[in-house]
Amino acid sequence: MAPPAGRAALHERLKRASAQLEAKIQIATLELAEQNELLQRQSAEIERAAAAKSQFMANVSHELRTPLNIVLGSTRILLQGVSGALSEAQKRNVGRIDSNARHLLRTINEILDITRIETGRMPLRLSTFAVSDLVEEVLAEAELLSARSRLTLSSEVPKGLPRMHSDREKVKRIVLHFLSNAFKFTREGRVIVQVAYRASSRRFAISVADTGIGISATDHQRVFEDFRQLDESTTRLYGGTGLGLSISRRLATMLDGRITLKSALGEGSTFTLHLPRRLAQA
């Protein structure tokens, strides 16, 4: 049975519309493919740029370290008296060259560390270890800092903690950095290292609390930024490169952890490193 005239026209229109739709889809698909290709090209370009940046940083670091090697070596030779005895005034001047050259080297090394982390060239070395041993080691290394200050240094580590599986060196580096900050910004009172383990979340919290100058709430984010010491003038007063916390934050992320800060102006600071008990190998 032939369709009535009205239905035939409708059918025709439907067919045309469907053909138009198909053409539009085809164009859209083509555009999508084009955009896809563009994105792929752009992502390859970004990867190339990142690789170029890290190569550039490696070269810069090499170019800076080569002359710095001579500055550090020659001042050491002078201070050791290999080139003859120095007067007290000469020693003071050479000593200033030495300490500033070492500061410069620390800064270069830390920039290099950030580059390593961001380009995925900082390897993870996982092992299983007792957190209490690590804290003991950290305290022993901080003994020098505390001997120079009038602060009391202590620790609170509960008994019977499970062992941690993570990158020991990196955990230690972060906690040591917390400690050196605590001593830097505390004139009197105490510095205490505390460890807590929460079985429900299987996470450790290692914190360093001080009774120092503290950080106002508005600045809590800023202390983790690169080259950031809250008052630019404190860089001179307190030393350090201003990169320590930003490196610690990056290291914590590598360890599937994070760093929190509890502090208020004049009321001391507590930096806490939260870490999973077991870091899964990526």
Binding site: A58, H62, R65, N69, I70, G73, S74, R76, I77, L112
Partner: protein, 139 residues
């Protein structure tokens, strides 16, 4: 730092294309009783070794003409020179140079900045098994 003068005045070959680095280490090592020869390319280093075999070679890895890795490979491939300890020195921190240095046959590896007293320590360490080995061969 004790100025312990070695009895035999061992000969150190310093290979570095950076004159200031060579002079600095040479001054320090001579103060501590070593004899020092200097070379600024890998080829020069090989020529030196052929003429006056040193007790230890301090090899910067990035050198013009022939780099430190190639020079080390040739020293280690030669039966007459393969016993001489080679300490690799490099300023490159990002690349996997430690591995390539070991593959080329370097006995020790230090990164710059390397303070003179650290280098002295490395040289003394490298010389100890070497001297022991020579005494064994002599007896």
């Amino acid at each position: 730092m004790s100025r312990k003068l070695p009895r035999h005045r061992p000969l150190v070959l310093l290979v570095d294309d950076f004159g200031d680095a060579r002079e600095m280490y040479a001054e320090y090592l001579e103060f501590f009783g070593f004899r020092v020869e200097q070379a600024s390319t890998g080829q020069e280093a090989l020529d030196h070794v052929a003429k006056h075999p040193p007790d230890v070679v301090l090899m910067d890895l990035s050198l013009p003409v022939m780099d430190g890795l190639e020079a080390t490979r040739r020293l280690k491939a030669n039966a007459r020179t393969q016993h001489i300890p080679v300490i690799a020195v490099t300023g490159h921190a990002l690349s996997a140079t430690a591995d390539s240095a070991a593959e080329a046959g370097c006995d020790a590896f230090v990164t710059k900045p390397c303070l003179p007293h650290r280098l002295l320590g490395e040289i003394r360490r490298a010389l100890q098994p070497h001297l022991r080995g020579r005494r064994r061969r002599a007896s």
